[in-house]
Subunit: 388 residues, 2 copies
DNA sequence: ATACGTTCACATGGTTCA
DNA sequence: TGAACCATGTGAACGTAT
């Protein structure tokens, strides 16, 4: 029914907690405007026209263990959530009906309790938070899944179907005829390499995606734009490699990553010898060269982060949108500034900035030269190790 | 059983619903509607009215090693799958019965475990995936078998695989050379035609030729033969027009092509109004007529591909070479069968095949009537747009 | 025949915004 | 404040592989 304003209209400062939530992304850009207002849902167990046990308004279902209207539901929740204390200006016996219910909050809440509503069912701060987080998480996941779907179309890894089927057949035959005991883990071993590739690369892409979105002005990009960005350049690969080469111990050529030890082996290996990675020698050599080259710069975390941002910043966007162009320029400028500032602090020559640019070019060339390597399904596992 | 509200969500009454909510998705479901609700299956080892060891509701069988109801089964599975952690708001000793089971998830799960349910039997993500894939695979196989069976009836004489591979090959070649937009995953333009011809002809001709060449028995044609074929009939024009008219939105008379937006204009035009094309009105009108005519047939990609193949198949070759003649005949036969088969699937009248032939004749007449249009130098640009 | 996962209508919690 | 909305947990019915 129509809410009747009265007396304590002042009430609470009202809602407006929100903000932060980021726009709900405009679920549907409707054209039709019509949006058939769908009939408010009523649970099937309610009789026709059943009344709210508190105020007699039209009930909409069980709420906090009592059959109530939307109004009493909301009132009760707000009261319990914020632990509000009301006091009656009369004799604690105000009548509560659909007209008068907003006159005395104290008596309304009292009647709620008497009518069987229980605050136990009101989620407390913590639970509420958990719920919000869950929803946020799911939202992201959903978006990511969609993106992954699009990405899969855009750069499918090289399937190598022939190899796969040969390997599968031979292995399967082996297990079947020669060593049946192996059959157990066949699930694991014969998993489709393409699937494997996807599941292994997803975390990496997801992180890159999240990083990109966190940059100013990128949060509102839609999925297709993101896909375009991710596929139209090797930027994300370059960023990953940039990260990786800073994890290489150039003295001993160890890749310093934490891996779960297989079993019973020493708890933590100090690192993986580069030679142990199953890539072609060519690639490993380039990796060594470039990581040695960068190690001389002693880049700081901030510098790496900024560099990653500009690498990822899609040129196409900058060209289309002057605002974005300005932003990219700004990032470059800041980076330059910091690099040179650190140069003097680190007692570097004056050449640090040009050197960085030079090395960056080198990095991009190398990534480009080997870009195929990253998409071979058979390499997926090693690539994932590299990018962990 | 009987639902009672409580903490989380209450359960439902068994009402059989019938409500019309139906807002979300509403995927394909049976239309039969009659569907006598068959008695929910109960394993034979259960005694009459045996109870769920967790909540006392009616048990439906062994689930994860304990005799439980459907509710506890689902609750346990979800919890284990998502590795959920609950916490009790009371003293970890909440009573669990059919009424209260939804009050405290922590205690419900605890009771599940105590009652002998084991998470070992809950399939993990990977196993679940494997299962899904297996089911999917089997479904496809089943469908394929059915289709094969259908084809086999239609072509008792021909090896069934051959028919299917012919259809597949022609369709694939068509998508590759003539109309890439048909292919789901080909967001990227045409395959580059063989270079040697590329320089000698317009891209359209080159692609049409490539299509022809990919047909069985045509791969060895040399340039001169090609030229002869291409010039001796309007086949290639007909094929291109056939493609084009299937890109026309007959509601709004828009030609649905993707053009690079000039600059700064809206990123993607929904289509080009036919009237915008710089052809004589005569020609446009015929185009409208013929495209409307074909749109009624709702031709599938395979049908269009096969039709294109037979249109392009040079009569001269068929006459000279009995082998080729047979092949052409075969293509016609396959096309006819598929068209009629689809007629029944699409709930078409029995007239689909004759109608197609009729419309084809019309198409050829129109192309013939306007053939001059395509070769006038001043029209070159527009023709290229049309055939993109 | 059995016991897995899947599907989806439903109920109900929180959230939004006029 | 509360009408409309969104999102998630629930469980009955169901589809399949073993
Ligand atoms: Zn009320
Ligand atoms: Zn009062
Ligand atoms: Zn139970
Ligand atoms: Zn408890």
């Amino acid at each position: 029914m129509s809410p009747i304003p009265s007396r304590l209209n002042s009430s609470t400062s009202s809602t407006s907690s929100g903000s932060s939530t980021s726009s709900p992304s405009t679920p549907y850009h409707h054209v039709g405007r019509t949006r058939t207002r769908q009939a408010p849902y009523i649970p099937s167990y309610l009789e026709e026209g059943q009344q709210c046990v508190v105020c007699g308004d039209k009930a909409t279902g069980l709420h906090y263990q009592a059959i109530t209207c939307e109004g009493c539901k909301g009132f009760f929740r707000r009261t319990a959530q914020k632990r509000l204390q009301y006091s009656c200006k009369e004799n604690n016996d105000c009548e509560i009906n659909v007209i008068s219910r907003n006159v005395c909050q104290a008596c309304r809440f009292k009647k709620c309790l008497i009518s069987g509503m229980t605050t136990d069912l009101v989620l407390d701060e913590q639970e509420r938070n958990a719920k919000r987080q869950l929803i946020e998480k799911n939202r992201e996941k959903k978006e990511l899944d969609q993106l992954m779907g699009l990405l899969k179309e855009s750069f499918p890894c090289l399937p190598i179907n022939e190899v796969k089927s040969i390997v599968d057949n031979v292995s399967e035959a082996y297990c079947k005829w020669i060593d049946p005991s192996l059959k157990m883990d066949s699930n694991f071993r014969f998993q489709d390499p393409v699937e494997q590739f996807n599941s292994l690369m997803t975390p990496t892409l997801a992180r890159t995606f999240a990083f990109l979105k966190s940059l100013e002005g990128f949060s509102s990009l839609d999925l297709n734009q993101i896909r375009e960005i991710m596929t139209s350049s090797n930027g994300w690969l370059e960023v990953q490699i940039l990260k990786t080469i800073h994890k290489i111990d150039v003295e001993n050529w160890l890749l310093l990553i934490e891996e779960d030890a297989p079993q019973g082996s020493p708890p933590r290996s100090p690192g993986v010898p580069l030679g142990n990675l199953r890539f072609e020698k060519n690639f490993i050599d380039d990796l060594k060269r470039i990581s040695e080259s960068f190690s001389n710069l002693q880049m700081t975390t901030e510098e790496i982060a900024l560099l990653s941002a500009v690498i990822l910043f899609p040129e196409s966007l900058a060209e289309k949108n002057p605002e974005m162009k300005k932003q990219k320029k700004q990032l470059w400028t800041i980076l330059e500034h910091i690099v040179e500032q650190n140069a003097s602090i680190l007692d570097f020559g004056i050449e640090r900035w040009p050197k960085l640019l030079n090395k960056l070019m080198n990095l991009q060339m190398i990534v480009n030269r080997h870009s195929k390597v990253f998409f071979e399904a058979t390499n997926a596992r090693e690539v994932a190790r590299l990018f962990t």
